[in-house]
Amino acid sequence: MIPEPRADPLAVRALRPPPGWSARVGWRAAGDGEQSHRVLHAATIPMTGSRSDYGSDIAARLGVDDSLVVLLEFGASAVGTALFAPRGLPVPQVTQFDPNMLQRTLPGQSGFQRFFTVDGRAFCLYVVLGSHARRARTVPRVHALLSRVDVADGTLTLRGPA
């Protein structure tokens, strides 16, 4: 069993998910030769710890009205590459969710994945919906969460409501 991600003290202090969401920002201890970066996990189900940076174990527990949002940061070498060329945090549209756009394709679910750069930092946004059929209902809740994402000042966190 790998250790759970260490909490990011800066992020925890300011982590303010919308109602109905639980969230956590942390990073794992880097192994030999590795670089470890912040990862945000937010889900509409309780998170007792994840053994997966892309949240495969959380995704497997999603109900039909649940969602998982993962925001994973990459190292500086990713900035400027073709994969991370898009600028700004993407906002997934209902039509962009695909039942096959998943790390692990489970019946009924759908996903969304984009790589992008914000303020010279490279990220991946990965969203899993518990039910593709009910995406029109769950995607607005994902928007509400993403509207609070803040990567300013070198951190990765969720702002409180304005």
Partner: protein, 464 residues
């Protein structure tokens, strides 16, 4: 019996029991892998072995991606038409000796369209077809999950789905174009397939030299037992481990010859890695049953028996005969092998080099006529001679290299041979008009009747 004959017998025996042994070993490998993956759970419960071998989530409906070796002819690497798109690890994996186990997603490619703002093209552009793997317990998905970990080949911004997963106990940034940005998924720790080897001393050795990034390349199929050890196929050769714990590899340049001659069963396990020769141009392996295979300027050739023993004593490729340039051949009570600069011949008379300039005469005459050398060549007054069991090799710059043998030899010797009135041979033995043979010399010609029962006659007497 020449070593070629011994080899032929060995290969036959090897083939005879390879099939029965492989099926047995295959079963043993499955059970061994199952114990490694499933641990006591596998041992104590009546779980089908193949289910345990592939680990959890192995059915297509489980939604995970299949192993590359399952769909790539056993080769544990990204198949042609795919590229490493990212990686993750599972820490503390028993399949990597308790260390991190790495998973590299191989992405399919887009054939004729872009991605329109997404990192993925639509399925009509994929160069692969969505399907479930089949044929083993690894029935996971192929060309299905539209997902990317993102640390590898970041210069490629548009791709297809994950085609398959390559597995490694060596960090992927050491052999693929990947960054060191770590990602973890401990839920996949025990995902495996029959074409992947369980952890073993040999696998530890493979990882220690760099795994897929080593000179051996990617693994092909699972480790298997051979006489006196274990072996692992790779894209660039094979890695062997003896029961005594010695790990040695044979690269493809040598391997083809090694396999053609019966591999481990006939030649024994390798006792060296494939090693560059001192000149840096060629390569060789030595094997436990006193064989060597050299890849030299004239191809890849096996050496064994007394010929190899002498060649090694003489300094291998630094011997006067140089690199081997042909196979071992047997005629009568001896055998011989051609080298770039001569021959080594072995018989009851001994094992000796036949070098230029007399080698050409010996090769033209053949061992069946002039026999095998009985002494090293001697040089006297610009004339090189070497005695053979049925004649003499004789060469000079003026007369060339020729063998004198049979009745002609007897007559020539009776006349004094090299110092006699006929002088040195100027041509090889040839057939005369009467069905016999003749040979020209500096000062005459000697003919021999067709049958050895007839005395030779000197149709052209010496001019002096």
């Amino acid at each position: 019996m020449t070593f070629t004959t011994k080899l032929a017998t060995g290969v036959g025996n090897a083939l005879e029991h390879r099939f029965s042994r492989r099926s047995l070993l295959g079963r043993a490998a499955v059970v061994g892998a199952a114990v490694t993956v499933g641990g006591l759970d596998f041992v104590l419960r009546p779980t089908p072995a193949y289910a345990a071998v592939c680990g959890p989530g192995a059915s297509c409906g489980d939604g995970w991606t299949a192993m590359c070796c399952t769909i790539n002819a056993g080769v544990n690497q990204c198949p042609p038409g795919s590229f490493a798109g990212g990686w993750w690890k599972a820490d503390g994996a028993s399949l990597c000796g308790g260390q991190a186990r790495y998973y590299i997603d191989c992405q399919g490619e887009c054939t004729h369209c872009g991605c329109n703002g997404s990192p993925f093209c639509t399925d009509t552009c994929w160069n692969c077809e969505r399907r479930c793997a089949s044929g083993t317990c690894d029935e996971r998905r192929v060309c299905w999950n539209v997902f990317r970990y993102g640390q590898c080949n970041q210069q490629v911004g548009c791709s297809g789905p994950v085609l398959c997963r390559m597995i490694s106990c060596v960090p992927p940034w050491k052999f693929e174009s990947c960054t060191t940005d770590a990602a973890t998924d401990d839920n996949t720790t025990d995902h495996t397939a029959p074409c992947l080897s369980p952890w073993s001393p040999l696998q530890s050795s493979y990882a220690s030299i760099g795994g897929a990034g080593s000179v051996l390349g990617a693994e092909v199929g699972a480790e298997y037992a051979v006489a006196g050890g274990t072996a692992q196929h790779t894209t660039a050769g094979r890695l062997y481990r003896s029961s005594a714990g010695a790990d040695r590899w044979v690269l493809n340049a040598v391997l083809t010859t090694y396999v053609a001659h019966g591999e481990v069963d006939a030649l024994g396990l390798p006792t060296t890695n494939t090693t560059k020769t001192a000149d840096g141009h060629y390569a060789y392996n030595d094997f436990a049953e006193n064989f060597s295979i050299y890849v030299g300027p004239s191809g890849s050739w096996l050496l064994g028996g007394p010929i190899r023993t002498l060649w090694v004593q003489l300094g291998r490729e630094n011997a006067a005969v140089g690199y081997p340039s042909g196979p071992d051949a047997a005629v009568g009570a001896g055998n011989w092998q051609v080298f770039v600069h001569g021959v080594i011949a072995s018989s009851t008379a001994g094992t000796l080099e036949i070098l230029a300039p007399v080698a050409a005469g010996w090769l033209n005459a053949g061992a069946a006529n002039v026999g095998y050398p009985t002494a090293a060549a001697a040089v006297n007054g610009g004339v090189t001679t070497q005695t053979c069991t049925a004649g003499l090799l004789c060469a000079s710059s003026a007369t060339g290299s020729h063998a004198v043998y049979g009745d002609i030899y007897a007559a020539w010797q009776a006349d004094g041979g090299v110092s006699g009135s006929y002088g040195l041979p100027t041509a090889d033995v040839a057939v005369n008009g009467g069905g016999g043979t003749y040979q020209t010399f500096q000062e005459g010609r000697i003919d021999a009747a067709p049958s050895r029962s007839h005395p030779q006659r000197h149709v052209v007497p010496p001019r002096r």
